[in-house]
Symmetry: C2
Subunit: 322 residues, 2 copies
């Protein structure tokens, strides 16, 4: 089985690469070739199968055609300009998040010889914007409040149409906010959800810009990789013509996060969190989803973390060596 990962150098791309290298297989099928693509060539993992690494921009002419010509059996599409950048640079956002994946779908269709790969597209709960119900069902309208969410929702539609017409075997998965993100804090409005856990566990202070009753929808990086693997291997006949799914997650308040941190690392860790309300961030995150009833994904066997304690434990195990 030949596997292609586009956006392999990002946080999830690196973890997915690691998992594929460890497993040596995707479901029942041994991997024979892993192709990793990102703007700069990703680092190859230690693996028992062949790995090629390419630095390329999917939105550049010819790149998608070349990638499809190698006939990967499974394609993971993870590449994206993140929310803040897509908002700041409209044209770049539409080029990378809309035109580039569209080019990939066109290139697959263009093969025209019955080639029909599994395409796993990473969408996001950013396809949902206010006003929202407290619990969002699988049939709720996509109402993005950002250009990023708009681009994700547009590709969901395009993927669905290409799957319906038989050009590819597509599945789109709407990832929850990934928490705890490893690495440094960034400028994303959501950054604090991770930093209030990550920084205290590392003996550093963290700033909380919102009130503790804010509720949101989370999955650990490990669960997100589990979603990707499951999406690549499940029987898509179960999806019918609706190929895009909200992933399960943990609905937790910031207070729930803090109490989970306390249980893992004690009061001293919690005292590292400094409350500094930020009106701008509160306004942005105030419109975000609180919880989903992701019953289609549940029924299809996608599994989230049990609770926020589990999310903290994943971080300790996977990033802090237990």
């Amino acid at each position: 089985m030949r596997v292609l990962v586009i956006g392999a150098a990002g946080m999830l791309g690196r973890k997915l690469t690691e998992r594929l290298a460890n497993d040596g297989a995707l479901g029942p099928d041994a991997i024979s070739q892993l192709s990793l693509v990102d703007l700069a060539a990703p680092h190859p993992p230690d693996a028992a199968f062949a790995v090629d690494c390419t630095g390329a921009d999917l939105s550049s002419p010819g790149v998608a055609t070349r990638l499809a010509a190698a006939r990967p059996d499974v394609i993971f599409h993870l590449a994206a300009v993140v929310s803040g950048e897509a908002e700041a640079d409209l044209e770049k956002g539409y080029r990378v998040n809309l035109d580039a994946p569209r080019t990939l779908l066109d290139a697959i269709r263009g093969c025209g010889d019955g080639y029909r790969p599994r395409v796993v597209y990473t969408s996001s709960i950013a396809v949902f914007g206010p006003p929202l119900p407290d619990v969002i069902g699988d049939d709720h309208a996509t109402t993005p409040a950002t250009s990023y969410g708009t681009q994700k929702a547009m590709i969901e539609l395009l993927l669905n149409d290409h799957a319906r017409r038989g050009f590819l075997d597509g599945i789109g998965i709407r990832l929850p906010t990934i928490c705890v993100r490893p690495g440094k804090a960034n400028l994303a409005a959501s950054s604090f959800f991770s930093s209030i856990i990550r920084e205290p566990l590392d003996g550093r202070d963290a700033v909380l810009p919102v009130s503790t009753d804010l509720r949101h929808w989370f999955a650990s990086p490990r669960s997100a990789i589990g979603f990707l693997i499951h999406a690549a291997t499940l029987d898509t006949a179960q999806l019918g013509d609706r190929r895009c799914l909200t992933m399960p997650g943990v609905s937790a308040t910031v207070a729930d996060e803090i109490e989970a941190l306390r249980r893992v690392a004690g009061d001293d860790a919690v005292r590292r969190i400094r409350h500094e309300p930020d009106e701008t961030i509160m306004r942005i995150v105030g419109g975000w989803p609180h919880a989903f009833d992701a019953r289609r994904a549940d029924a299809l066997g996608f599994r989230a973390d049990a609770d926020f304690d589990a999310i903290v434990r994943v971080h300790v195990e996977d990033e802090l060596g237990g």
Copy 2:
């Protein structure tokens, strides 16, 4: 006020042109200039204001830029490849129904000098596909079952994002199935909804390919023009960031249609309808929407026909000289 109609030679485009010429105004504003665009230059109406007619393809390079450069205050976008053709010719469908309106939005944004026209985009209930609830609410997910519906749903998202970012004052209206369509029967799966009324009223036979308990969602051409005018003139501040709306309509079965025909034209007219079940058409239309709870549009003052009798009367008055 300068008004631009793209797709002015189609059935709705011609009726909209006629209405604008008759009214001489759009809401409180007198029309100073009406620009009509279609693939072949539309015929100019008799009007008290200046009219220019252009034959141009919006998907051709430079056309959108030229149209935006004239700074119309209101733009009606009606141009589309219909459902059957978008299904038969995928690339043409995406070029005309996705790329062309996107080019228009890009061109408006590209003006970059505060130009912010009202853009009325005609979407369709084809953005909804099976499985569907009996009555579809305003928050229901778009799940198109055709490439046409996919393209409409994608432009809805793009229009919304461009409105949110302040590049234009957009509104997308999802039209019901227009009934009674004047003119000849066509190859659309929906053609019979109109022909079983239109042909008997004209003393000709009509074929009914589905069972009489099939329910669907209708508006007369006159109501559709009313929707367009209202969308061009209402206060869009009421829409918030959700710029696309399902239009109200009449939920009627084929039996309701037939009884309305009987009340207007008697048993002889009804006897003109010959029942010839067609499995292919039944399968296609079986997944179509039955009814909507279009309460956002209702609250905003969009008004549908009272019932199917009213729809038949509109046809008699507007197409058959009363």
